[in-house]
């Protein structure tokens, strides 16, 4: 079921296979160091085998074994002198290819001017000694997530590319190992430069790449001799014994569908009684990739530094937006993690998120075993969805392009429309409903919907609610800010051609729909009846009021307004937006609907629309989530099988299925 293919070629031939004395390991480390590489390998520290920079093989474990179980790890003394006589420890190679803390960029704000400068990454050349099969699989998963598109983390790609990989076949296994179930091991098959299988006195050495071959022919040549048939057979037998020892602890057939069918299983609440939501599992996991960016500023408020750090879907702020967290309960977070790792990861990346290394089991401080939870929640059935294949493009968190405020318009007491010029030319190709990441140095960048496309720029309509949005709404003509985008997908206006269009919107939610109205007003004949239903808190909070009058008078658009609260001067409707059309006469069969507003309002609207006969395939909503990268790399907006930033923000109800409106997704 894996994308990391497990082929089993005949591995008992001695041709091109070598024997390296145990003492020769030092020659290998030395050769890699001479090549200008930082060599990372196993060492013993603080009661565990941890990965760290090594300078010679003397720093590696000798005669050290381990015992692992749920929430438990202990080192043991081995009777032999083996260097790799244990399984994976607390560290994963992720630490070097995707470091826990990285400075991404700096920004400056001097007067009107803003500047953004990506921090150059100069990773040293790496070499990894002792990579296990499950960890090679983890590289494969990370490559797919971070380096295979549609967006690419260039820093990851550079680090990964630089690494010389010395893999090691597992000749021992622990209770926590389940690579066999995930199809990722224990046999090392490909993805390495050199592979070692440890024998009593030395190693069987296999070459896996031209770089490996070069080392074998060159610096390592004097330490090698051809392997004997006995050595080759012993090595194969040891690895086979490891496979037998592990067995198949997690039957995975059909896990994806079975798991996603169990979103309401009572076990989620039960496991949440035990789970501390500490996040250890996600940070110990070799494939978890979620991050957050922290802005640091100086006291003058001029210079800012953006630092990216590992984060976790178990952290309280991870899915937080104005008004609360989408996953406020521990059970939501545990469900998110498990359903993503074993389920929706497939939909997003065409691969599993789990490689069966067992770290999340050993390093769960309260000993929760994912295999046990999975088997309790979702006993397997057979099915495997199609992988997604898209071409990668280079993009990063950092490439903010400076734009200048050329006009501002106070829409309401707290809402301002900024007209920006000099933005990235990419915006001129932007589409209706897309958004931009907007940054002022010192404040966290925020996703803001584009409310108009102009000849040489865009407009953003922003409600000043927190410090960052207040800083944006306070900008004056001539001030600068940073834009990244356009990002996300668009309203499918081509599907509205020849149909009636119903636009339902609440509050600031009119902003992403404004370009739609502009577009259809420009080409009005192609559409049927167009109705705009808009709700605001008070009459003073109605956005684009003058424009709205033009839409109604000249644009051929029916405009219906309502407010939550009004004074005596208001002669229009008072009440929620759905009340505007639940008594209307039009038929929904030929209609398509675009809806944007608070999530609860959108649910109510969707229900009303469905009641009027609009099919779920033609009801489109735009979702709000916590976003930092905007390109599906930071993980914050992950929702079921989608990244809202990359796959959305516009979704049809059909796409969302029963995840729409469900608490804690």
């Amino acid at each position: 079921m894996m994308t990391i293919e497990v082929t089993r070629p005949e591995r008992t031939t001695t041709a091109g296979r070598w024997y390296l004395e145990r003492a020769g390991l030092d020659a290998l480390v030395a050769a890699l160091r001479e090549d200008g590489r930082t060599v990372i390998g196993p060492t013993v520290a603080d009661g565990a085998v941890v990965l760290a920079e090594i300078h010679s093989s003397a720093e590696m474990p000798h005669a050290v074994g381990d015992v692992q179980g749920p929430g438990r790890y202990r080192l043991t003394k081995r009777d032999d002198a083996r260097v790799f006589g244990y399984v994976v420890g607390p560290t994963s190679w992720k630490r070097w290819v995707f470091p826990p803390d990285v400075e991404l960029s700096t920004g400056r704000r001097t007067g009107h001017r803003v500047e953004f400068a990506p921090t150059a990454s100069h990773p040293t050349k790496l070499a990894f000694v002792g990579v296990r099969a499950c960890e090679l699989a983890a590289f494969g998963v990370q490559d797919r997530v971070l380096d295979a598109g549609p967006f690419r983390d260039a820093d990851y790609a550079a680090r990964r590319e630089s690494a010389f990989v010395v893999a090691v076949q597992c000749t021992t296994a622990e209770l926590t190992c389940f690579c066999t179930s995930m199809g990722t091991g224990p046999e090392v098959e490909h993805g390495f430069d050199i592979a070692l299988t440890e024998l009593d006195e030395g190693f069987l050495l296999d070459v896996g790449s031209p770089a490996g071959q070069e080392l074998v022919d060159g610096k390592l040549a004097s330490a090698l001799r051809p392997a004997t048939p006995v050595e080759v057979y012993t090595a194969a037998a040891d690895v086979a014994a490891t496979r037998a020892r592990i067995g198949d602890p997690l039957p995975t057939a059909g896990l994806h569908d079975r798991l996603l069918a169990q979103l309401d299983n009572p076990r989620w609440a039960q496991v949440a009684e035990r789970c501390i939501t500490c996040g250890n599992c996600t940070l110990a996991c070799p494939t978890c990739f979620c991050t957050s960016v922290i802005q640091k500023t100086d006291m003058e408020g001029i210079a800012a530094t953006n630092e990216r750090a590992w984060d976790s879907c178990f952290s309280p702020g991870f899915a937080r937006v104005a008004g609360g967290s989408f996953r406020s309960r521990p059970r939501d977070r545990y469900r998110q993690w498990l359903t993503h790792k074993f389920g929706t990861w497939w939909d997003q990346f065409g691969t599993t998120g789990c490689v069966g290394c067992g770290r999340c089991i050993t390093w769960c401080p309260v000993g929760i075993d994912v295999r046990e939870e999975l088997m309790a929640i979702a006993p397997p059935v057979a099915l495997s969805p199609e992988p997604i294949r898209v071409e990668p493009v280079a993009a990063s968190f950092n490439d903010f392009v400076v734009a200048q405020v050329v006009a501002t318009r106070q829409e309401t007491a707290d809402t301002v429309t900024l007209t920006l010029a000099g933005a990235d030319p990419a915006f001129s190709k932007g589409n209706l409903g897309q958004f931009a990441m907007v940054a002022i140095p010192g404040f966290p960048p925020l996703p803001i919907s584009i409310s108009r496309f102009t000849v040489d720029g865009i407009e953003l309509t922003i409600r000043g609610a927190g410090p960052a949005t207040k800083a944006m709404t306070a900008l004056k003509v001539g001030d600068q800010l940073g834009l990244r985008g356009p990002l996300g997908n668009n309203w499918p206006i081509e599907r509205a051609v020849g149909r009636d269009l119903v636009i339902v919107s609440g509050g600031i939610g009119l902003a992403p729909l404004r370009p739609v109205i502009h577009a259809l007003a420009a080409d009005r004949r192609r559409f049927g009846d167009v109705r705009l239903y808009y709700g605001a808190r008070t009459p003073a909070d109605i956005l684009y009021r003058e424009e709205m009058e033009r839409w109604a008078s000249r644009g051929g658009i029916e405009v219906h307004l309502t407010v939550d609260r009004a004074g005596p001067e208001w002669e229009g409707r008072v009440g929620v937006v759905t009340q505007l059309f639940d008594q209307a006469t039009w038929e929904g069969a030929n209609a398509i609907a675009f809806v944007c507003g608070p999530e609860r309002m959108m649910q109510a609207t969707a229900n009303t629309l469905a009641g009027r006969g609009v099919t779920p395939t033609r009801i489109f909503v735009t979702l709000e989530r916590h976003m930092e990268c905007g390109i599906g790399l930071c993980g914050h907006c992950q929702m079921g099988k989608y990244f809202v930033c990359r796959d959305g923000p516009v979704f049809s109800l059909l796409q969302l299925g029963d995840t729409f409106g469900r608490e804690g997704i």
Partner: protein
């Protein structure tokens, strides 16, 4: 003062804030007026201000320190733009003063475990205070002390809090920078474990069987206890939705620890913060309190409001720190 961060939007109604002092923060205009006061405490948190050796003189360029008795003979009775409060409310005099001070402060910041959680002295809250005092002190009439040592937020609204025993210099700098530049301080509310993992610290609980409160404790210290080879003792207090009961159950089930021993683990510097407080009580109260005749649980009831409308509001109870309230940018 235009550039200064506002406290959380839902603010503290009913308080007279004096904004006439210190408008605008930089460039020759008056600097925010800062004061530091203490209640029952060890002085370690205010010492952390003086421990910002590299920044101390720069700080004095951005803030006007008008009242900081530990560091300066110059005094002021307010009003203050920023008031740092160290220590817990432990005497009748404290009760009177905190209400007065709140009226003088535009932004009130509690610093450290005593101010945010009651501190180590709040362990007396499980004991019978009168018996305690009468039995040990020959002339108890000199001893002015309340039955419970309580966090500041139990009495007046608090705008920001810095956790820790003592507070972290990095978090202090972040808060000061945010105050002066008008943005929201970015203080993580995640578990200490996250910091351990980012720093590559081997988990002392999994690898050595040491009881560690890192999972339920708010980060900020830099994971120093696990880094130093021991378990976290919770001095930054419970993090958001800390599953203390779950951890307590596991510690009893897995480590041959009695309920009493597990209770003692939580009975530290932030014992009085929920959910540590009820976990201790559920596990039988503190050993020391039982010995001196305490009831083993915390007496209920809040103090009468010291003339402030906001006192006793549920939203200001410990365990509901204002800092964790999210802002409208969703960050």
């Amino acid at each position: 003062m235009a550039a200064m961060a506002h406290p959380t939007e839902h603010g503290h109604g009913g308080h007279a804030h004096s904004n006439e002092h210190g408008h605008a923060a930089r460039g020759g205009t008056p600097r925010p007026r800062v004061a530091v006061v203490k209640f029952a405490s060890c002085d370690g948190c205010q010492l952390t201000i003086l421990d910002l050796e590299d920044l101390l003189l720069e700080l004095s360029e951005h803030f006007e320190i008008v009242d900081f008795p530990e560091a300066s003979s110059a005094r002021s009775n307010g009003p203050y733009d920023v008031l740092f409060v160290e220590g817990s409310v432990s005497t009748p005099d404290h009760l009177r003063r905190i209400g007065e001070l709140r009226k003088q402060a535009r932004v009130l910041v509690t610093i450290g475990a005593c101010a945010t959680s009651g501190g180590i002295q709040a362990l007396r809250n499980w004991a019978d205070h009168d018996a305690y005092r009468a039995a040990v002190y020959p002339t108890p009439e000199f001893v002015e002390s309340l039955a419970r040592a309580t966090p500041i937020a139990e009495h007046v609204p608090v705008d920001f809090e810095l956790r820790g025993c003592p507070i972290s210099p990095d978090q202090l700098v972040e808060l000061l920078t945010a105050l002066v530049t008008g943005r929201r301080p970015q203080l993580r509310d995640e578990a200490v474990c996250m910091e351990c993992k980012r720093r590559g610290v081997v988990c002392v609980m999994s690898a050595q069987g040491i009881a560690c409160l890192g999972q339920v404790t708010q980060t900020g210290c830099g994971a120093i206890c696990p880094r130093m080879g021991r378990g976290c003792y919770g001095c930054f207090g419970p993090r958001e939705q800390a599953n203390a009961a779950g951890l307590a159950r596991y510690l009893q089930a897995s480590g041959e620890r009695s309920a009493e021993e597990v209770g003692q683990l939580f009975a530290g510097f932030t014992a009085y913060s929920e959910p540590f407080r009820s976990t201790i009580t559920d596990l039988g109260g503190t050993r020391g309190a039982r010995r001196t005749g305490g009831a083993g649980h915390v007496a209920g009831g809040a103090y009468p409001p010291p003339g402030g409308a906001a006192t006793g509001r549920a939203s200001y109870l410990p365990g509901r720190p204002r800092m964790e309230g999210i802002d409208d940018d969703g960050r």
